[in-house]
Each structure stands twice: as C-alpha cells, then as structure tokens.
C-alpha cells in the first residue's frame, strides 16, 4: 500500500484536556480545547513538504516533535472552542464558542469583536480568494516566488459565513479591512457550510442542499425534500437522493467539524458530496450535477472528508481510519489507522486530531510515491498521479508520464487487452521498436533482445530462405515450448488471464503455469463461444485460412507432429482445427526462443504474460489487428513530422488544423528509419491478416523495407503488388526485371510482353535507358508494342527524348523508324530539321530496298514514293542538299522528288531538266515555272526562259544520261554516291553549251561531233506552246534568239500577239498612272498654296493683344482671323470675342 502521507504525532495532551477544534495557518497550528483554552504551536519550517523524506535520522534530529508550543491561553473563550479558522489575508482568527462567533487578531490573539448577530451560531466557514487558487504548497525552492505580493493581499477578498438560526451572516474583508456584511435568510437551520467558490457556498440543511451566491444573495436549491432539482437520470437520482438526506450520522459529525461532507476538487472544479456510502459530483461553477462522473464507492461510511493536493482524504465513521484516495481513479491508495479521530484539517497542511492528540500528515515526495506505485505495478495510479501533479514536483514529468503509459500499455498487452494497449501506445507516440518488441519477429522483423546470444538463426524474419532449418529447429524446441497436457493448469491460466481486477499473482504461482504454448487456449475457447453467429464463424474461418496460408510455406515438414499435438490436447471437434493451427503458429513463431520468454516477462513486468509465442492463432490475429491501430497512427504522425522537417508544411499550418501537438522527439531522431520500421511492420500485419490492403500500402508513399517487401510479396506471389511497390519506389529496374521473369512463365497473369509494355508506358525520359533496355524484346515480338510505348499520346511517352528514341528504333527496324518519325513530324509537329531529313532519308531507303524486292509499280514501292513526295512538298524543314546527296542519280523513282529538291535550292534548271527529259511532262514543266515564277527573285524570273532553252538547246545526251533522266530502270547499281558531285554541282551550262560558246551552234540533228557532245533533238513544239502560253513572261528578244531561224512565223503568231498585248497593256497602264500622278501633283500644289496663305508672322516686336507682352518664342494660339495670342491667353481672348459677338447679336435683335 502506498505511503502518500506519514502521520507524525505533534501534540499529545494530558488526559484531562479535550481537543475541540484545530486549525493550521501557514506556520502555526491552533488547537482549541473544550475548556476554552487555545494552544498555539509553531510548525517547524524545515518540516514542510519536502522534508518527510522518511529518512529517520532527520526525524530524530528534530527531537520527534516538529511543532513547538508557543503559547497557551486559558479562558481564551468562555465555553469550549467549538470551531477555529483563520482569515489570513485579513489577519483574523475566527472562533466559535457558546453559540457566538468571535474575531481575534491572528497575530496577537487579542479579541477584536464578538459578532452579536451570530447568536445561536452552529457552524461557520471561511474563504479567501487568494487561497482558493493556490492548490498546494510548492517545494521550498519555488515557494518564495509564488508567495502572493502585499498588493495582492490588500486587494484580496476574504469571507466569513456564519450559520445561525435560519440565517446566514456573511462578512467580507478586503485586505485587512472589514468592508461589509449581509444576511441571507434560508428556510431552515443550516447544518453545514462548504465554500465551493470564493463567493459561493454550499449550505446543507436537514433534508435540503442550497447553493448560496453571496454577492447576489441568491439561494438556489440543489435538493429539495431529498430529491435533486432538475432532470437527472435515474442512477444519479438515487445517489443524489441519498445525499439529500443530510440528517444522517455522518452529517452530524460533519456539522461538528464545520464542514459538510462535501469537498471541492480543484483539479476539475467539481464538488464531491458524500452521504453514507454514496457520492455524487457537482460542478463548482454551475452547481449542477455532473452526470459524467461516476460516484466514489466507500467501503466504510466516511465521517469526515477533505482534499489535500492531490488526494481526497476521508476519515471513516468508525473514526479509526484515515483513507487516502486518488480523486480521479478513486482508488484507495492508503489507509492509516489511528485512535479515534475527531478532527480533520485538510488543505495545504493537513492535520488530524483525536480528543487528545494531533498528527501532522506529512506528504511523501511524489517521486518516491511514483516509484512505489510503479514497483507495485499500479501503473494506472502512477499515471493518474503524475497526470495530476504540477511540473514542479516531478523532474521531467512529461517523459516520465510517457514512459509510464508505455509500461501500462505493455501490461495491458500482457493481459491481452490489445486494443487498449495499442491506443495507449498511440496516445504517447511510443517508439515503434518498443511496441513491436511485443510481437513475434514475423511481425516486428526484429530479433529478440537476446537473440544474438543464441547459436541459431540469423534471419529470424525470413522463414522462406531457410525453410528447412527452421522446421528442424521447431521440432527441437517443442519439448520446451510445445503444449502441455494438464487440463487443470489450463484452467488456472484462464482465470488469471481473464480476471483483470486481480493484481498479478506472486511469481511463485506463475511458475506453475509453464509451459506457455497452451496458456491462452481457454481464451480461444471463450472467444469461439462468443463468436457463434454464422457470419462471425465464416469470418473466423477465413482468418484462419489466411493464417494457414501464411504458415504453409514453412510447415510442410512439421505437419505430422502437429497432428499428434492436437490429438493430445483432445479439444472438441470445433476447436480441433483451431488448436492445431494455433500450435503450428505458436511453434512457427517461437522457434529459437526458449530463453526469450524470461526476458519478455521481466520486460513486461507482468508475470502472466508468456510472450507472443504463447498466443494461439486467433489471439495473435487479434493482437496483430490491434497493432494496426498503433501503426497507422504512427505512420501518420511520422509523415507529418517529416513534412514539417522538410518544410513542406509549416508548424503554424499544422497548429491551425490540428490540436495534436507533437515534437520530433516523440519518435526517434531518425524519422526515416522509424518510418521504415513502422511501414514494414504494417506490411507484415497486412500480409498476415488483411492481404488485400497490401496493394494500397505499397502504392502510396511508403517507407517499407525493400528487402522485406520483396521477400514477403514474392513468397505469396503478390506480383502485381510487388510491381506497384517497385513503381511507387521508382525501383523500375527491379520491376522490369521481375516482369521479364514473369513474362517467361506460362501460368501467371503476367506472362507475355503486355505487362512489361504497360509498365514501360508509365516511364518517362528519366528512365529512358530502362525503357530501351526492356522495350527491345516486346518489340521484337510485335512492332505494335513499339508504337504503344513510344507513340502513345501520354505525357510520359511524349517526354522521351526524340533523338534518342529515333536512334533506338533505328537500331530495331526501319518500318518502326518510319512510323516513329511520321509520328514526330506529322502528329507532334516537331520542326527540328533532323527528323524531317531522317524521315525523308528513311522513305528513300524504304523505296530503295523495296525496289529490289518488288516491281516498280508495286504498292510497296509506290507508297513510300508518294509519302516521300508528300513530305518533300509539305515540309519546309529538311535540308534538300542532304536528301539530294542521298538520292540515287539515275532512278526514275525519285525524279519528281528530285525536282522538288532542286526547286527548293533554287536549281530551277535542274528541276526543269527532270520534267523535260526524264518525266517528259511539259505541262508539269510549265506548271512548275508558273509556280516558281517571281519577277522579283533573280533566281526565278528567268524560269520560263530556262525552260525554253531546255526545249530549244537541250544539253548533250551524255549529260542527260549521266543524270539518269532517260533511264527506264529504277536505278542503276552504281548507287547514288558516285553521282553526288554531279547531283549537286552548280548548273554547269558550260558543260553542254560549250559548242555555242565556241561560236558554233550545232543543231542536234546535224551533229557530227563525237558522242560526248551529241545533243538530243530540240523540242520546237513544246517551245512554241510555251511561248504562246507564257510568251509575255520572257523577253521576246531572248526568246527569238533561241528560236531556230527556220521557225515558221505563223507558229509564233500567238507568241507575238500575247507579247504585244502584254506590252500594250503595260504601256496604257503606265500612261494612266502618269496622268493620275499629274493630277495628284496639281492637287498637292493647291494645298500648299492654301496652307501658305494662312501664315502669321511673329516678329520680335509683335505683342499679344490680350496681355500686351511680347509673343517671343512662347507657345501661341492663332485664331481664324489670324489674331495671335499666347496660348495661355487664348481662353480669355476667346471669351472677349464671344461676348462681343453676343453683344452684337443682341444689338442686331
């Protein structure tokens, strides 16, 4: 039993004397006797709160008596001193004697006044505002700082209320000055008075309770005729009714000592009312019943009641025992036996007295009290105590509290109250390691504390990799951890485990309950009987199946021994599979831990608890399910802390939305690591009891240990979760590696290339190398996958570096390259010349290679030709030179393309050569000229002439042949390279016009030169056609020069006509414009004249008619009548003119 208070005998009077009242002030103890004598003792200061260290030597040094008699005044009052109290701020000592209240000077003890009106007084009460708010004595070190200042004392109000007959007489002091009194009538004689606020008093009558508000002089009933006022639920009504019946034995003694059996509990501002065995609580603020607080149950009827921080103290009706209770938990913490007690002086300095003796109740230091409670495993009490204490009493109070709660949580865990345990762990943000240590490695992933000592296992969490070894070990361990046979011991265990009210039995008892594996079986049986609805049954089955699944990979070998065990236990048919499963689970979980049990036990401080390995599957499942409470909360808190640390959110933001205050120290310093521990454990839990949640967990931002995730998910073939995990973690290499493996397997949903492709589609440029690495194979299977990966209209696909993708697809296939480049050029509208060039070149290659395999007019050839043409025509981005260089010189397939290219580089002659000699389409040639003809561009204004020249002075045949214009074949095998130079060389008219330069024009038909200079026949017909259609677009002189001299004039008729018409048109147009310009000139001159006539001249002497100052170079205003004034004077000038006009106007009328 806790020793909160130590009774120290301080006064021992002779048997003739009888103590009638006691009162203690800060440093004095007043004892009033029946004889009317007052004895005043000095309380030794060194014996204040911190002193009673229970260190006996110290006690002896003070000679056994911590108080010294200062004075003893006989005949202090005429009759016995029935009640004593003090108004310390007013320095008044109040005494009740002979039915009167007397006031004395607290220091000199001189009588000040007998309060005449208090005749018939039976009881009084005092209150001080200052005192009301200081609950306890601070340790000496801080006492000085907290002592109220004189100013405070002077302002403070003290009150005295005396109950006499059917009246309350109230007196009020401010500082030391009596400032007023009033009377309040009540319906009956009050029997007890208790201040519940500095200005509110609870007044007990025979069968009623009133709350009296002194300043307002109001009296409001709380009970009337034994019944509470207002709506109260039934239970409370019963209790309250009981209390209302104040005329009981207890209240008699209460009245005698001047206080009702009511006391204020400052920590929650409530008032506890006690009658007989029952109790109820009032709010000190409102006077209403508190329905939320359950009553205190007393075993013995209390006769006196009080509060001494932080405990409720009471004296039993037998008056032989003082009881100390925690006002929160109501737990009876201490009982002290005394000879019959008559008086209780509660408050800061509690004293009790019998008729001859006084004891000081000396408070033991709280630290020592706490240690004791902890030692006794009374963690609830320890927690409650530490919660009620002020920081000054306990060093590092917050952390101590946290630690205590964790211990309590561990204790609860040991009692299988998993949910409460985990909620408590969450409440204090316990470090995850500490919580997880309660669970087997399969959950915690941790080794047992002493595991490293053992010669076994290095990887306790991985049953798979060492499957065989573990099974073997399990077998070996069975004699130690395996199930026992005794039914009786089962029963004993069950009782212990289910009865929470009983404190842990002595260790000796507990030893008998070994071994542990079956320790919890009765609970499992209980649970089954509870879970008898069909639904629950189904759920249970499913859970067990999950466990079974969880176990299967490791237990194949041990199945035979398992059967034996379950038979040996001989459970009912329903329990059979549960127990066998639980055994195997227990075995599974406990391998290599025979020696661990002890550590666990002492660690938990609860000898009942046999460690997690003693749980059956169902219990463990529940423990694990409850662990989620903690883990989810921890995950959330850690993530929040992390975002505060990383600055993602500010502390202020956080405070705005959450009342939870948290510091990083709530968890370990290494948040990252804590997060990993928590998330990994969460994963393990889900694997065990709710595998469907693994997916969500690994998809979200998480800190799961990669190794564990892989191990766990692989073990159960949770491929899609594993891939999601890799994806979320950006471990794309791992994911793709796995997908590759899976794609080769036949049976999974992941066989074939599609899953890989889908994964690749989610990757962007930062993973482009991986994309390439893993795209190869699917594309080899089907080129469409290439399209899916590189040409999807997704941000990811579009983010991929185009040049790199091009390079990649190029290495795979031309057709894919073409598709990709088409996508880039046409769909994405990429304007980089490289892609346009490359696309053109790719088409070119396509044509070339297909031409080898198919006939020239086959679609396989013609299609790329058309595409090439389209690109060359539409795109402005490619480099024509580059394409030209790649064109085979002599292939008819590319002639039109070449024409376009030549045209692009301004080589109109070359382009026209193609139309004329290769394609032989003169219409197209004319069209071409039309399309490029531009009189302003030096290059293009002569195209018609060029064409005419080609018709009439064709280049030498060899030249034509050299450019492949007249070849019928696709192209020769000479390839294009050889012709590069010729293809690009500037139009070397010299080459074939040499004869002319030599002053020798050689008609092709009459050519007798060697082959090299042989010219094809001129095409007069086409030339004439050109001249008649476009004659005006070339110089007639140049054209006529080219025409052979024997040309029929009639055939040139149209040419001349159009030329003449054109010339005429030009002439008349020019004439008109000349005439128009002349007109314009005249008009302009006229304007000039008009403007000139409006001038005004300003000379040095010219003045402004308004202000008569010189105009100088100021800004001026010129009026229509050519008057010149300063710009600033314009307004007033205008006004004068206007008014003149006005006057004139009026006169006219």
């Amino acid at each position: 039993m806790l020793r909160a208070f130590t009774p120290v005998p301080v006064v021992d009077l002779s048997s003739k004397e009888r103590i009638q009242s006691i009162y203690s002030s800060d440093d004095k103890l007043f004892v009033g006797l029946a004889s009317g004598t007052l004895k005043v003792y000095q309380i030794d200061d060194s014996l204040s709160l911190s002193e009673p260290d229970t260190s006996s030597p110290k006690k002896e040094s003070t000679g056994g008596s911590p108080v010294k008699l200062i004075t003893s005044i006989e005949k202090f009052t005429k009759g016995s001193v029935d009640q004593l109290s003090g108004l310390e701020d007013a320095r008044v000592l109040v005494a009740l004697s002979n039915g009167y209240v007397y006031l004395y000077d607290l220091d000199t003890l001189a009588l000040q006044e007998r309060l005449h009106r208090t005749k018939g007084a039976v009881v009084f009460a005092t209150s001080s505002e200052l005192k009301f708010h200081s609950l306890f004595n601070y340790p000496p070190s801080t006492a000085n700082d907290r002592r109220p200042s004189t100013a405070d004392i002077q302002r403070s109000v003290s009150r005295l209320v005396v109950a006499a007959k059917k009246k309350l007489h109230c007196y009020e002091w401010q500082g030391a000055e009596l400032i007023g009194s009033r009377e309040i009538s009540v319906s009956e004689r009050p029997r007890s008075l208790t201040f519940i606020k500095p200005d509110k008093i609870l007044c007990g009558l025979v069968v009623e309770y009133f709350l009296v508000d002194i300043p307002a002089s109001t009296v409001s009933p709380i009970f009337a005729a034994g019944r509470p006022i207002g709506a109260i639920d039934n239970v409370l009504a019963g209790v309250a009714a009981n209390i209302g019946n104040i005329a009981s034995s207890a209240s008699a003694s209460a009245r005698r000592q001047g206080c009702a059996l009511a006391t204020r509990l400052p920590e929650d501002e409530s008032v506890v009312l006690v009658n007989e065995f029952s109790s109820a609580f009032l709010s000190a603020d409102t006077g209403t019943f508190l329905k939320t607080k359950r009553p205190i149950k007393f075993r013995d009827v209390p006769a006196m009641l009080g509060y001494s921080y932080p405990f409720v103290i009471s004296v039993t009706a037998s008056s032989k025992r003082l009881e100390v209770r925690n006002p929160k938990t109501y737990t009876l913490l201490q009982q002290i036996s005394f000879p019959t007690l008559q008086h209780l002086n509660d408050g800061k300095l509690p004293f009790v007295a019998s008729s001859r003796q006084v004891w000081k109740l000396s408070l033991r230091p709280f630290e020592a009290q706490l240690d004791f409670l902890i030692e006794q495993n009374q963690l609830d009490e320890a927690v409650s105590l530490i919660e009620q204490l002020d920081d000054v009493f306990i060093e590092d109070r917050i952390n101590k509290l946290k630690d205590l709660k964790m211990r309590k949580a561990e204790l609860l865990f040991g009692k299988y109250k998993f949910s409460q345990s985990m909620t408590l762990f969450s409440e204090v943000s316990a470090p995850p390691e500490r919580v997880l240590a309660l669970y087997p490695p399969a959950i915690s992933g941790m080794e047992y504390p002493n595991h490293k000592d053992g010669p076994t296992e290095e990887e306790p969490e991985g049953p798979e990799p060492k499957g065989e070894e573990t099974t073997e070990q399990k077998k070996e361990e069975q004699p130690i951890t395996g199930p026992a046979e005794g039914e009786s011991s089962e029963k004993a265990n069950g009782e212990i485990a289910t009865d929470t009210n009983v404190l842990p039995p002595p260790v000796a008892d507990m030893n008998a309950t070994l071994p542990q594996a079956q320790g919890s079986i009765p609970i499992a049986a209980d649970a089954i009987s509870i879970a008898d609805s069909t639904n629950a049954e189904a759920q249970r089955k499913r859970d067990l199946e999950i466990f079974d699944r969880f176990l299967r990979p490791t237990k194949s070998n041990s199945s035979s021994s398992k059967v034996d065990n379950s038979n040996a236990i001989g459970k009912g048919s329903r329990g059979a599979d549960t127990s066998s499963l639980s055994d195997s689970l227990a075995n599974f979980l406990s391998f290599g831990k025979a020696s661990t049990t002890k550590t666990m036990r002492s660690g938990l401080g609860d000898p009942d608890f046999l460690g997690p390995e003693s749980m059956d599957a169902r219990t463990l499942a529940k423990a694990v399910r409850c662990l989620l409470i903690y883990l989810i909360d921890a995950r959330r808190k850690i993530s929040r802390l992390a975002s505060v640390q990383s600055g993602t959110i500010t502390k202020a933001d956080l405070d705005l939305v959450s009342k939870e205050s948290m510091t990083a120290t709530a968890f370990g310093a290494d948040l990252e690591r804590e997060a990993c521990v928590v998330d990994t454990a969460l994963l393990r839990c889900y694997m065990l009891i709710n595998p469907q949640l693994v997916g969500p967990l690994v998809r979200l931002a998480n800190h799961c240990d990669k190794k564990v995730v892989r191990e766990q998910l692989m073990m159960y073939g949770k491929w899609s979760e594993l891939i999601d995990f890799y994806y979320a973690k950006k471990l794309h290499g791992d994911a793709l590696g796995l997908l590759k493996q899976l794609s080769e397997s036949k049976k999974t949903a992941f066989s074939g290339p599609e899953p890989t492709v889908q994964y690749l589609q989610k990757l962007g440029n930062e993973n482009i190398d991986l994309v390439f690495e893993y795209a190869k194979e699917p594309i080899k299977i089907n080129e469409q996958f290439g399209i899916d990966i590189f040409m999807a209209n997704t941000p990811e696909a579009e983010s991929l570096s185009r040049p790199r993708v091009e390079k990649f697809v190029l290495s795979i296939s031309r057709s894919l390259t073409i598709k990709y480049l088409e996508y880039v050029v046409f769909e994405l509208g990429d304007l980089s010349p490289e892609f346009h060039n490359d696309l053109a070149l790719a088409y070119l290659e396509d044509v070339k290679s297909n031409a080898q395999l198919y006939s020239l007019d086959d679609e396989m050839v013609q299609q790329p030709v058309r595409k090439l043409l389209k690109l060359l025509r539409e795109s402005k981005q490619y480099k024509p030179e580059k394409i030209l260089r790649a064109m085979p010189r002599d292939s008819t397939l590319f002639m039109e393309s070449k024409a376009i290219l030549f045209s692009r580089i301004g080589e109109h002659r070359r382009a026209l050569e193609i139309f004329v000699f290769s394609i032989k389409d003169y219409g197209k040639a004319q069209d071409y000229c039309m399309s490029v003809y531009d009189t302003d561009a030096p290059n293009s204004k002569t195209v018609f002439y060029t064409l005419l020249e080609l018709y009439l002075r064709p280049p030498p045949t060899k030249y034509i042949a050299a450019h492949g214009y007249n070849k019928a074949s696709a192209f020769s095998r000479r390839g294009s390279d050889a012709s590069l130079d010729t293809g690009l060389s500037p139009p070397s008219s010299a080459e074939y016009l040499r004869p002319q330069q030599n002053g020798f024009y050689k008609s092709p038909s009459t050519s007798s030169m060697n082959d090299a200079y042989e010219h094809p026949p001129m095409n007069l017909e086409a030339a004439l056609d050109l001249l008649s259609n476009h004659g005006s677009r070339l110089s007639a002189i140049d054209a006529l020069e080219l025409l052979p001299s024997d040309t029929n004039m009639t055939s040139l008729g149209q040419f001349f006509e159009s030329h003449l018409r054109e010339t005429n048109t030009t002439i008349s147009r020019d004439r008109i414009s000349a005439a128009l310009l002349k007109t314009e000139l005249v008009r302009t001159q006229q304007t000039l004249l008009k403007l000139r006539s409006k001038n005004v001249s300003i000379s040095d002497t010219k003045t402004c008619p308004v202000c008569l100052k010189r105009l100088g170079s100021s800004v001026i205003s010129v009026f229509p009548d050519r008057t010149v004034v300063h710009y600033g004077c314009a307004k007033s000038y205008k006004e004068t003119v206007d008014s003149k006009n006005q006057v004139r106007h009026n006169v006219d009328e």
Binding site: Y330, Q420, T500, I523, D526, R625, R635, R640, D653, G695
Partner: protein
C-alpha cells in the same frame, strides 16, 4: 448513425456537395475548410428505414496528414470526389482510395463501399478534362464503384448520389454489426471497470 467520409483534392467541391445535400445551399465563395468537420443529415430514408447520416468533410489537412484515427474510425462509406474539369483531381482518386483503405483498414476492403462523384458538370463542356468514359473505366477497375456526375452548384444528381451513398453505407454498417462481436472477443470479458479498490 451512418458515418460517411468525403475525400478528394482541395477545391473539387466536397464542402459544396455536402452543403447542397444537407441544406440545399450553394455558395460561390471558396472557403478552405479547417479542421475535420461533419454535418449531420437526419431522417434520411433508405428504402423504408429512417437513418441519420454523419458526413465528414476534410480540409486542407489531408495535405498535413493530420486526420487522426477519429476521422476514419467506423466509417461506413467513403465518397471520392473529383472535379471533371481537372484531370489532376481525377488522377488523385486512386491515392485517396488507397489512403482511406490504409487509414481505416476495413476488415474486408473488397466489399467496403466507395462512391465516386465527378463534380462541377455544370461548367461549360469545353473545359471538361475527364470524360465520363474514363471515369467509368476507373470505377469499373476498382470493383464497380458507383459513379455519379454531379453539380453542387445546380444541384444535379446530388440527392441521387447521396441516396446510393446512404444505402451502401447502411449495408456496410449492418455487415459490420454481424462481425463486430468477433472482432473483440477478449475485450468483452475483461473490460469491466476496475473502480472499487485494490489493496
């Protein structure tokens, strides 16, 4: 009492939908919700039963990870809201769903009822960023989640959506009741008050 939790990116119209459903009001002003808050709608008729629905709204604090256990505990239905004119809010749905599943850890995640609402369909068609087809495909992939296109502003489909939410929540609550006695078999026996004394 059915507990319904509404999740989704900020600004998609969660608060507005609730307001519209509970008090038939809409405000154009955007006021960020602070703290987890709930509205109660009484006398919701589900078939021939009268139920009370508690709608829990979330605020910016989703960002702060500060929605505590109390927020998720005992949820009967989770409503995922996105803005049809905002593709990002749609893409976030998956995470919202996952986050809910982890936080609430329902016993049977597969059968836990979700409802997806695509809100703000009153906005002009040209602004639309998520097609109905895409949304439906998502809902189907996640186990046939009921899907509604709503407008809190014009009160389109709001009542219809919440009717389904209420019905599904009720089913969930009933199934929980069935299994609840299984969930805490040990507590039932051991958790009597330990008032009295200990000596």
């Amino acid at each position: 009492m059915l507990k319904v939790i509404i999740l989704g990116d900020s600004g998609v119209g969660k608060t507005s939908l609730m307001q519209q459903y509970v008090s038939k009001k809409f405000s154009n002003q955007y006021k960020a919700t602070i703290g987890a808050d709930f509205l109660t709608k009484q006398d919701v008729r589900v078939d021939d039963r009268n139920v009370t629905m508690q709608l829990w709204d979330t605020a910016g604090q989703e960002r702060f990870q500060s929605l505590g256990v109390a927020f998720y505990r005992g949820a009967d239905c989770c409503v995922l809201v996105y803005d049809v004119n905002n593709a990002k809010s749609f893409e976030a749905l998956d995470s919202w769903r996952d986050e809910f599943l982890i936080q609430a850890s329902p016993r049977d995640p597969e059968s836990f009822p979700f409802v997806v609402l695509g809100n703000k369909i009153d906005v002009e068609e040209s602004k639309r960023a998520v097609s109905q087809k895409r949304a439906l495909a998502f809902c189907q992939a996640k186990g046939n989640i009921p899907y509604f296109e709503t407008s809190a502003k014009e009160a389109i489909n709001v009542d219809q959506a919440f009717e389904v939410i209420a019905r599904n929540a009720l089913v969930q609550e009933e199934s929980e009741e069935y299994s609840s006695d299984f969930s805490d078999p040990i507590n039932i026996h051991l958790d009597n008050d330990r008032g009295g004394c200990c000596s």
